[in-house]
Symmetry: C2
Subunit: 216 residues, 2 copies
Amino acid sequence: MEIKVLKDILSANEQIAERNRQLLDSKGVFAVNLMSSPGAGKTSLILETIRKLKGKIRVGVIEGDVSSSVDAEKVGKEGVPVLQINTGGTCHLDANMLLSALSNMPLQDIELLIIENVGNLICPASFALGEHKRVLISSIPEGDDKPFKYPLMFDIADAVLINKIDLLPYLKFDIRGFSQAVRGINEKVEIFQISCATSHGIQEWVSWLLTQMSRR
Amino acid sequence: MEIKVLKDILSANEQIAERNRQLLDSKGVFAVNLMSSPGAGKTSLILETIRKLKGKIRVGVIEGDVSSSVDAEKVGKEGVPVLQINTGGTCHLDANMLLSALSNMPLQDIELLIIENVGNLICPASFALGEHKRVLISSIPEGDDKPFKYPLMFDIADAVLINKIDLLPYLKFDIRGFSQAVRGINEKVEIFQISCATSHGIQEWVSWLLTQMSRR
């Protein structure tokens, strides 16, 4: 019975996600669902991306967290439209939360909408939001075994960004083994090595993003 | 309605957790529920703790993961009883999973049972297992804002271990501000600074653990 209830919830979520996608398309907004463990660097990547795209692409941000608005405050300082969703206790955003948020965003002023999901490698993977691309950040300090432990998240990702690459001298992380494990789950995924601390790889990530937007 | 269903689930879980606690007490087993984000160092702490207690306290380990048995394999090399629970897609262990696992553990040979929960800062906080103490690892690379974002997890913890303290020279992390935020949520919590890479603080953690076991 528990599984049936879950299937109903997921199916209802898919329908709302489809509505969100139609709304975004009608306004010419490209949406990215950004996911990772807590502290892997989602907000830092958003800040780096906004700075790289300044004067080129109009960015908006929706921040998802169980509690607090610390991320929205950081992003707000960049002068872009930003909205914080607090989920209460829920471990992921869902399509209905995004639907409510979209009605409070100035979509006509946005070309790229980055949605920062709740920090979690499990629950967000099951809930489509209506996004065009799903991006997963995995960071060096988390270790290279994450694809084995959280396979669904790696399976649904369009791109995996290996962040905090500047910490490689101080930690054990087998980039090649990690990449092979990721491709074993999801052979089409793009993998980038980045550091939001040094800006390493940010240009490549942004170029990929712009290509995806132009192909839509 | 969703909330009612959730309350029923949590209440049923509490009842099974109480049964687990009675079973553990009848066998003289002290149980610790170890929680953290993915990759914060739960398995590394278990390995360090087993090594420190070798010849003093008989340890057993239950490993919880969505998928894979990589952690159980690492722990098994230490020669202690270990069992892996794979939750499928579920984002936390629950009391019923632990009940099944306990019937497959040689409890008469164990004085300290460490239960490694699924890597997640949200869901595990809502599900008691029947443990005697709840221990949370928060690691330096995750950043010092986690108490604001995941307050429930910090609220229910008996001890918070700040791990990867050896990475402090390379990362921004305000230990004092973090500790104040944690104590703002949970004034009785014990806070330790540790590094599983250098063994810094492991003696203090193990001493605290032994004191808790002796007070039971």
